[in-house]
Amino acid sequence: MTDTKITKEVVASHGLSVEEYQKVLEILGREPNLVELGIFSVMWSEHCSYKSSKVYLKNFPTTAQWVIQGPGENAGVIYIGEGIGVVFKMESHNHPSFIEPYQGAATGVGGILRDIFTMGARPVANLNSLRFGSLEEPKQRYLLNGVVAGIAGYGNCMGIPTVGGEVYFNDCYKGNILVNAMTVGLVRVDKIFKGNASGIGNPVVYVGSKTGRDGIHGATMASAEFGEGSEEKRPTVQVGDPFTEKLLLEACLEVFKTDYVVGIQDMGAAGLTSSSFEMASRAGTGIEMVLDDVPMREEGMTPYEIMLSESQERMLLVAREGTEEKIVEIFKKWDLDAVVVGRVTDDGFMRIKMHGQTVAELPVKPLADGAPLYNRPVKRPEYQTELQTLDLKTIKEPVDYNDVLLKLLDSPTIASKRWIYRQYDHMVRTNTVVLPGSDAAVIRVKGTTKGLAMTTDCNSRYCYLDPYTGGMIAVAEAARNIVCSGGKPMAVTDCLNFGNPEKPEIMWQFQQATLGLSKACSTLDTPVIGGNVSLYNETQGVAIHPTPTVGMVGLLDDVAHHCTSWFKNDGDVIILLGLNREEIGGSEYLKVIHALEKGMPPSLDLTLEKAVQDSCLEGIQKGLIKSAHDCSEGGLAVSLAECCFTAEGHRIGARIELPVDIRKDALLFGESQSRIVVTVSETDLQEFKGIAENCKAPVTVIGRVGGERLSINDLIELPVQEMEKAWSEAIPRRLGV
């Protein structure tokens, strides 16, 4: 195998360009053998090296007083006081989920969980962001079913509650669905573990499942545009084993209580290769590994296969010399393999042996950190101007607003996601204080009074129409959701899903969107502490809408002061924080009712945003606000409707009078940003108004809670029950259940 001649074709089939291969030759001063070529190919794949995206990721604000670990480790960490750190990260598993939705999504969850517990943290919550094509297509229904079952299958078995997420449906995803999974964990800050292979002579220990021929070249696959023949790549799909991962989690947490572990990293994409190289690179060391000792599931595996396998549920750990046996003992208790497969060396080389021969000998640094970096050409698409043009005069105002509202509630993107989160165990660990179905989920931190709010957000249609504004809005909306639940926004993880970076138009989207994210994160003081990039989300040349998903975590000092989105009591005063503008570009209304994805997305004024958020948060913390719900897809009318029926087993109506100074469809369904609908009791109204004025947030009293109908001016008049029916049945009906 090592004798295979390295021809042009072999190089090309490893996804390396001619220039990249030239660089390989320079680094080595010789030709690589096949094992070495395979290692280069995965380490330098887009997925592992970030070669197209790195120049832009540098723009993210990544520090704050409370940030303990920013980007660069397996996951970022923030400090919430009392010695507790919160570890979180989001990652994509898009391509595998398209090929095999159940296993693809399941192993996506498994992967992100390992990123969190490899830091020494116990995972306490999962979230996800999902995107599919239209549910009218059987294939998309199949994908949705499989992905949701896969996420549920893995997360439920692990006993980690899946507390939130988002789901969008748009034709642009029909050939490239998105499955982004996020995990949040808790750690004692003096017990954070990192991916470091330090200490010359220290043993390198392989723990977890045996290695099979799974997913070889998975990392390369995730970095290649789908072609016609991609179905052929099927056998590279990995099968997840959440049971083994649960054992791995408990065993790792047990080992972390000792002082045996020097460094640890999960074997994710590119398995043994990336974990060993990255750990050695961070520590500036080398490793000598003997592959014969790697636990194997199949016979006759070659060094190439062992190094590139993406078998799941494995970790690589560097231990203090002399503790090997004790470590093995702990893993044995959990029925897991733990085997010393190598030693840390001082010469900066990765030396890999098998059957008594050296099968690869590569310098660590150039491979791990020396991947070619691209500042790829950037060009604003020709079509962008036309796309952003929307002449409101050509958009006819509807005759029947009730009908429009019902249609919007029935749009799967807006409709209830209960069919989905009902399949996720969202209560296990008995911490979930705000369950899925409100804005951000809230979990308590046992042993303290604190709580964490968390959410994922991105409206990719906005990003398509104007990636800069869209990127900003993703952050602002996430923060708004956190605030509506009573949390103070703390930090961000992102998952940047885009098309083919070799196209200047896609790279422009990437550049603009990341600049937008950076701007909003700086202004809202929510640094980016980690994330993931997924490129090449294209099928036959058609790219997805740019989708920079934002995952955000917020802090509640007192979890008792959490808030939910739905109306509470008869007679409460309904207040709108923020301003209604005449903005219908990029709205769900325009799409569902007028079949257009056009115009400028809503504008975002970050100063106004901050004012609205600050006043809402203060109102919640002071115990004045009884419900808070932000306006997003479907605008004010949809938000108000949702406030009427999202409480479990409790419907309540409202009478609303809005000042009409803009088009009525924009007033009801426009998606102006920086708006939150809150309720307070009559007696608290003045005090809350005072807070809002202090924060310079525009406040308008727009109505009262009560009755069994929602009425808005003389435009909307609907029984709550009828609205709820449309909203709650939209997805199950399309799935035929």
Binding site: E100, S209, D214, R234, P235, V239, F243, S311, D335
Partner: protein
């Protein structure tokens, strides 16, 4: 007419379920069970149609629904 369909995991695909069962058998004393793979056994009652048609239909059913051909193989017999 009955179709009996056997769906098995492809070679090399991890079978967590089989692994757990083998482990359990071993721990309760059945050391002779060296490997276990778990698949599906599906019985379909078919309307009376000519056998060649049945073969064709069942094959299609397997491809489309009964087996996940990304990771599974299938075979069937018609009685």
């Amino acid at each position: 007419m009955i179709a009996k369909v056997y769906v098995t995991l492809k070679k090399g695909v991890l079978d967590p379920q089989g692994k757990a069962v083998q482990h359990s058998l071993e721990s309760i004393g059945y050391k002779e069970a060296e490997d276990v793979r778990i698949g599906k056994f599906i019985e379909i009652k078919l309307a009376d149609i000519p056998k060649p048609d049945a073969e064709k239909k069942v094959k299609e059913m397997c491809e489309k629904l009964l087996a996940n051909t990304v990771i599974e193989n299938y075979r069937f017999e018609i009685l």
